[in-house]
């Protein structure tokens, strides 16, 4: 079954704007990961945040995790056309990764 439901399902922005994607999940996690998928580079790991962490940064990415609300958010700052992709919230628990349905981000030049 799919866990980690992303919101919105689709997002269209202009280059240079920030993009925020949210994720909710139902059961306990060990960590929460975000992956990106596009036709050019396939599925790529972006960032991992552990259940005892609240915020993490990597380049233009900022991830937050609220375990009390079972939710996470991914912020991409100063977006570029190359950021156009599907972004998946991935729940890590029981030695498995469980992917959500993804948010399709389109960055218009």
């Amino acid at each position: 079954s799919q866990q980690g439901e992303e919101d919105p399902q689709a997002l269209s922005i202009q280059e240079g704007e920030n993009a925020t994607m949210n994720c909710s999940y139902k059961t306990s996690i060990n960590n929460l990961q975000w992956y990106r998928q596009n036709s050019g580079r396939g599925l790529v790991h972006l960032i991992l945040i552990r259940s005892n962490e609240r915020e993490k940064h990597s380049g233009r990415l900022r991830v937050t995790l609220d375990t009390s609300k079972k939710s996470s958010s991914l912020l991409i700052t100063a977006s570029r056309a190359a950021d156009t992709a599907s972004y998946f919230c991935v729940r890590g628990s029981n030695y498995k990764l469980t992917f959500g349905k993804g948010t399709l981000l389109t960055v218009n030049p």
């Binding site: 396939g42 790991h45 991992l48 998946f88 991935v90 469980t98 992917f99 349905k101």
Partner: protein, 115 residues
């Protein structure tokens, strides 16, 4: 940069036929995963190996799907017989070790169309 290799990239077959997909993980990676991704959905884990041993195949439809990693390196996923509902992208991934903190590296996938 080391990558996960998969072949073929595309496969068209008729229902009731047998199909096989091959995956070569990044050298030195002990853990290998097969996922299925239906269009518009996220990948779903089918089976994972630690070296040559299956550690989880709870989501693998064992009546028609089989997977092996005989020497603990490359792996084959087979479907026999294929059904229309098997049309999907089949992704292979590998990680250095078996653990939730390990990054999984994905191959380009095999897109299967069953007619």
């Amino acid at each position: 940069e080391a990558e996960v290799a998969q072949s073929p990239r595309y496969k068209i077959t008729e229902k009731s036929q047998a199909v096989a997909f091959w995956c070569d993980p990044i050298s030195g990676h002990a853990t290998l995963y097969w996922y299925r991704q239906i269009l518009g959905q996220g990948p779903e884990l089918l089976v994972q190996f630690q070296d040559e041993s299956v550690v989880d195949d709870s989501q693998l439809p064992k009546d028609r799907f089989s997977a092996e990693r005989l020497k603990g390196v490359d792996s084959t996923l087979k479907i026999q017989p294929a059904e229309l509902g098997d049309s999907a992208m089949y992704l292979c991934a590998s990680s250095l070790e078996w653990g939730l903190q390990e990054t999984q590296y994905f191959g380009p996938g095999t897109r299967l169309l069953v007619l």
